[in-house]
């Protein structure tokens, strides 16, 4: 199972890096989204993989997974949303100001 998650993190990173290197804003935003998936999963993996032991205290539970990476990743997910939103708005603003959605503003009016 660990191999599967490592593979997923690797694929997401590769996709993110490739898209982030594109020349238009929209694919770059998608690339950043991929990278946040990868980073969030990677941070989550710091707590190792545990099945069926959520960190919710109860009398019947036999054990708990590490809650700390989860708390960190939870806020990271929300912050990645804020970042994605900010970047896409920046892309819109650039389109309006430069007349082009090229990341370096080429080919504008």
């Amino acid at each position: 199972m660990e191999a599967l998650l490592a593979l997923i993190i690797g694929v997401l990173t590769a996709c993110g890096v490739y898209l982030a290197l594109r020349r238009r804003t929209f694919p770059v935003v998608l690339g950043l989204t991929f990278l946040s998936y990868a980073v969030n999963l990677f941070l989550f993996a710091m707590g190792r993989l545990v099945v069926g032991r959520p960190p919710v205290l109860s009398a019947t539970a036999t054990g708990y997974t590490d809650p700390l990476p989860q708390a960190l990743v939870l806020t990271a997910i929300v912050i990645s949303f804020a970042m994605t939103a900010f970047v896409i708005m920046l892309a819109l603003k650039a389109r309006a100001e430069l007349g082009s959605d090229h990341v370096d503003g080429e080919g504008g009016r």
């Binding site: 191999a3 593979l7 890096v17 919710v56």
Partner: protein, 938 residues
């Protein structure tokens, strides 16, 4: 704690003075004077202790966990400097009141001056070296502000920048030297350092450490070859020159030599470096001073030369030389501050400082002339003035040490030559300015300055005479205790008498006096020689500017090479370097990649989900030019990530990921409307291949790293959170308790970031107008029915239900998966659905308070106030409390203060999310007119 207050008083006073200055010009001066007197009052009770020879140490815990304290120290040396700083500071404050013109800002001047005073007091009263360095750098900064006080003048700005660059660079070297010193001794406190001289001198790093510390001291005290900044700092108002560039700041360097004297001195390296630099400075300064036509330029080079004299004395290293060094610090401060003030009066009254034009002032201002002549006589080292005494001691020490050296006779010759030039330039100062014919073409007719402008000069001049004639009765006690502070041992027997018999030193003084007069009389050929042969070739400023220019050019080239203004190139470089660093780390590690942790078995569904995710991700990349398709595919990836969280025991993360995914995709869809629907194929095959290789390498690296981590057992600190979540935080959902309680401060920061992102986007979208396409990518017009009735009706029905769910998720969050973040996102999704299905206009009318700014503000305020409330109960920020209440019908219910914090989180999340989406949506509606009135818009 009086020492702490002593240092703090000028800093606090600076703010007071800046505020008081609005009331009137004199108010600022009075306030600054009062602040200085207050600081003196803190010092007075400690003077007897310091005179008794004991060291006062006062300590305030600062970062006790890191072993860093604010420690202040008062011994003889510190006392001498504190008295100089406060005493001369008081005189300068009085003087500046009359010097500054009505156009100059009094508040800014006095506030900067007090800042400097506080920083300087901090330097001389610090026990901890790092703390000393902080104040040291503060003096550089305050000096920058003071030199550039007349900001409209280019020479003031350039002079200030040069002083800051030179002393700042020295400060960096000093920091490195202090760190080495601290490593050697194991402590940064002077008490330990001064007692550990033998350890320091025997250490293999002694020489590099010494060189670094001396760089700091020499740049600050304008020692050759770093002396060139001081003449350019003369662009400062004259009170500043009198205070900083004669009496105090430039003395910080020699103060450091004196302070560390017991720890560093006594080696050949110390002798040669310090004495060498001191002698070179002494000669260069004295020689150059003679040829300066600018009154303040002459005084600046004279100051450089006297600083060299003091440095050379500490370099010689005998206890008596140290006594003489301390003595000359006192004498130079008094006569040079007086001379600067006199020069300021002359400048003030004549409108110029050019000695070729200022002549014969004796007839216009005899009183000022007398004062200046006394001070200049002290500068020249004429008997019965204070400068004579310490210079004689210097000559005697030079003769003493010359006997032990090969070619030692050169030393007395060199110092006599310097003395000779000192006499010559002092004579020039007196003769050129006050006699030598009539003034030439002065902007105004000079006359005596206001009465009170002369008082500070009078006080200083009287001190020069008193010390010069009755040294044993006046300065001896202070000198003794200060010298004992330098040596950290009893002061050696010394005789301050004026008459020592016909010693070599007396003969040297006589030669200097007579020779100086002769040089002045026959100065014409010397001036020709200097102006034709020396000055054009010896311009340290040109070298400085050449080096600075090269540095800037290098920085520009490097930046230009790295950043060509292309994002793909920058990102590519960034990924490449990250890869190189990661690969280097991986390659240098001998530990096997796979760890010892037992692995989980793979099940069929997981395998299927993994394959699905990878397929969707790859499809996104392959089809990324068709943007709409790519967006749908990436949504599938995000949802699978949520499934991964569910699988591995993270229900909170799964809920968050799910709701964030929905909001993100909606947002990107809205934004995509304004962007081209397809990307053009721009990258050629080589570029795509290169990017692909980089991406593949990055993916492999991240995957291997994840594998290495996942297969290793580890120690976690989770036990603490699991144990204390219920008892300490009052909740059984540990993730939520961590968010709102254990790590509540982090969460507060995070929602602040979220709020700022929302506001930033709002600011960006304001006034932004983008044309939207009238047709879809296939060329079909948009459907006239923009808000289909069925969807509109259903979302309206669903709204209360969705809000109820979010309330439920919010309330149970402390104990079961849920909480403010997730509930906020669900509420946001529910409301966005209304906007999407019914239109912005329809929803705005019905949704009260659709302005989201107050909501965000309220959320942040609630979260902060909840945190502050714990202060009221004597707990640290954000300590939570909880209790159980019994509600009728509902039953036992737990109420934690953390829930109020979570409410703040909830409000910020709702507010920021809606703020972003509604504005984008509103832009949408505005971007194109509906083809016809629509049925959906009821």
């Amino acid at each position: 704690m009086s020492l702490v207050w002593l240092v703090l008083t000028p800093f606090l006073g600076a703010a007071l003075v800046a505020a008081v200055a609005r009331l009137g010009r004199s108010h600022a001066a009075w306030a600054a004077g009062a602040v200085t007197l207050l600081a003196l009052a803190w010092l007075l009770p400690l003077i007897p202790t310091a005179f008794a020879g004991s060291t006062v140490l006062q300590r305030v815990g600062w970062l006790p966990s890191a072993g860093v304290d604010l420690v202040f120290r008062l011994d003889g040396l510190g006392l001498l400097f504190a008295l100089l700083i406060l005493g001369i500071g008081l005189l300068v404050i009085l003087y500046a009141r009359y010097y500054l013109s009505p156009r100059d800002s009094m508040g800014r001047f006095y506030a900067s001056l007090l800042l400097f005073m506080g920083a300087m007091l901090g330097v001389v009263l610090s026990e901890n070296l790092i703390q000393l360095l902080v104040f040291w750098e503060l003096t550089s900064l305050a000096s920058f502000l003071l030199i550039s006080y007349w900001q409209h003048r280019a020479d003031a700005r350039n002079g200030a920048r040069m002083a800051l660059a030179v002393t700042g660079a020295g400060g960096l070297a000093l920091l490195a030297g202090f760190l080495l010193l601290g490593e050697m001794v194991g402590s940064y406190e002077l008490s330990a350092l001064l007692a550990a001289g033998d350890v320091i001198r025997a250490h293999p790093f002694y020489v590099p450490m010494l060189a670094l510390v001396l760089l700091g001291a020499f740049t600050k005290s304008a020692q050759f070859p770093f002396h060139f900044w001081l003449p350019h700092a003369m662009a400062a108002p004259t009170p500043v020159s009198a205070y900083l560039h004669s009496a105090t700041m430039v003395k910080a360097g020699v103060f450091l030599l004196a302070r560390l004297f017991p720890a560093l001195s006594g080696t050949p390296e110390w002798f040669w470096l310090v004495t060498g630099a001191g002698l070179a400075t002494l000669l260069v300064g004295a020689f150059t001073a003679l040829f300066k036509h600018d009154l303040k330029g002459l005084l600046a080079y004279s100051t450089i030369s006297h600083l060299g004299l003091i440095t050379a004395l500490f370099g010689i290293g005998t206890p008596l030389a140290a006594v003489a060094g301390v003595f000359h610090i006192i004498n130079h401060a008094t006569f040079k501050a007086g001379l600067f003030m006199a020069a300021g009066i002359i400048d003030h009254e004549c409108g110029t400082r050019d000695m070729r034009r200022i002549n014969g002032l004796w007839r216009y201002m005899p009183h000022t002339a007398t004062l200046a002549m006394v001070a200049a006589a002290a500068m020249a080292g004429v008997p019965l003035f204070n400068g004579f005494l310490s210079k004689e001691m210097f000559f005697a020490e030079a003769v003493g040490v010359s006997a032990t050296l090969a070619w030692g006779w050169l030393l007395p010759v060199a110092v006599t030559a310097a003395g000779l030039f000192a006499v010559a330039y002092s004579l020039r100062f007196i003769h050129d300015v006050f006699f030598n014919g009539e003034p030439i073409d002065l902007p105004r007719t000079p006359h005596e300055p206001p009465r009170w402008m002369k008082v500070p000069v009078e006080i200083l001049v009287v001190l020069c005479l008193l010390v010069g004639i009755f040294p044993a009765q006046t300065v001896e006690p202070l000198l003794s205790v200060a010298a004992a502070g330098v040596l950290q041992a009893p002061t050696p027997a010394h005789d301050l008498a004026i008459w020592h018999g016909f010693s070599p030193a007396l003969w040297m003084s006589l030669i200097a006096l007579v020779g100086g007069v002769l040089v002045y009389v026959g100065r014409r050929p010397l001036f020709d020689l200097y102006e034709r042969r020396i000055e054009p070739h010896l311009d340290a400023k040109a070298i400085y500017e050449y080096l600075l220019g090269r540095l800037f050019a290098f920085a520009r080239r490097l930046t230009g090479w790295l950043d060509t203004g292309s994002l793909p190139r920058l990102l590519g470089l960034f990924f490449l370097f990250a890869l190189i660093l990661g690969a280097a780390g991986l390659a240098s590690d001998t530990v096997p990649l796979t760890g010892a942790r037992a692995l989980l078995p793979v099940d069929g569904i997981s395998l299927l989900a993994t394959l699905g995710l990878i397929a969707a991700a790859l499809a996104t990349v392959v089809l990324h030019r068709q943007r709409f398709t790519a967006l749908i595919l990436i949504g599938a990836v995000g949802l699978t990530v949520a499934l991964i969280f569910i699988k591995f025991s993270a229900p909170d993360l799964a809920l968050t990921q799910l709701s964030v995914e929905v909001v993100t995709i909606v947002l990107l869809l809205l934004a995509l409307y304004f962007l081209p629907q397809e990307s053009p194929a721009e990258s050629g095959t080589p570029r795509r291949l290169g990017d692909g290789v980089l991406a593949l390498a990055a993916g492999t690296g991240a995957g291997l790293l994840a594998w290495a981590v996942l297969t290793r057992p580890y120690q976690t600190i989770a036990g603490y959170f699991l144990d204390n979540s219920l008892t300490g935080g009052g909740g059984s959902n540990v993730v939520n308790v961590i968010l709102v309680d254990f790590r509540g401060f982090d969460t507060l920061g995070e929602i602040t970031v979220l709020a700022l992102a929302g506001l930033g986007i709002y600011a960006m979208l304001e006034h932004l107008r983008l044309p939207g396409p009238a047709r879809d990518p296939q060329g079909r017009p948009w459907d006239a029915d923009r808000h289909p009735a069925i969807m509109a009706s259903f979302t309206r029905l669903l709204l209360p239900l969705a809000l109820l769910v979010s309330l439920f998720i919010f309330l149970r969050g402390h104990n079961l998966p849920g909480g403010g973040f997730i509930a906020g996102l669900i509420t946001a999704v529910a409301l966005i659905m209304q906007y999407l299905a019914n239109g912005v206009a329809w929803t705005q009318v019905r949704l009260p308070g659709s302005n989201m700014h107050p909501l965000i503000a309220a959320g942040l305020a609630i979260a902060t106030v909840t945190g502050l409330a714990s202060f009221a109960f004597g707990h640290p920020f954000l300590t939570s409390t909880f209790g159980h209440v019994h509600w009728p019908l509902v039953g036992e219910f737990e109420l934690a203060s953390a829930m109020a914090f979570d409410l703040g989180v909830y409000l910020v999340v709702v507010g920021a999310t809606l703020l972003i989406l509604i504005h984008l949506g509103a832009m949408h509606t505005a971007s194109h007119e509906a083809p016809s009135p629509t049925k959906g818009d009821n």
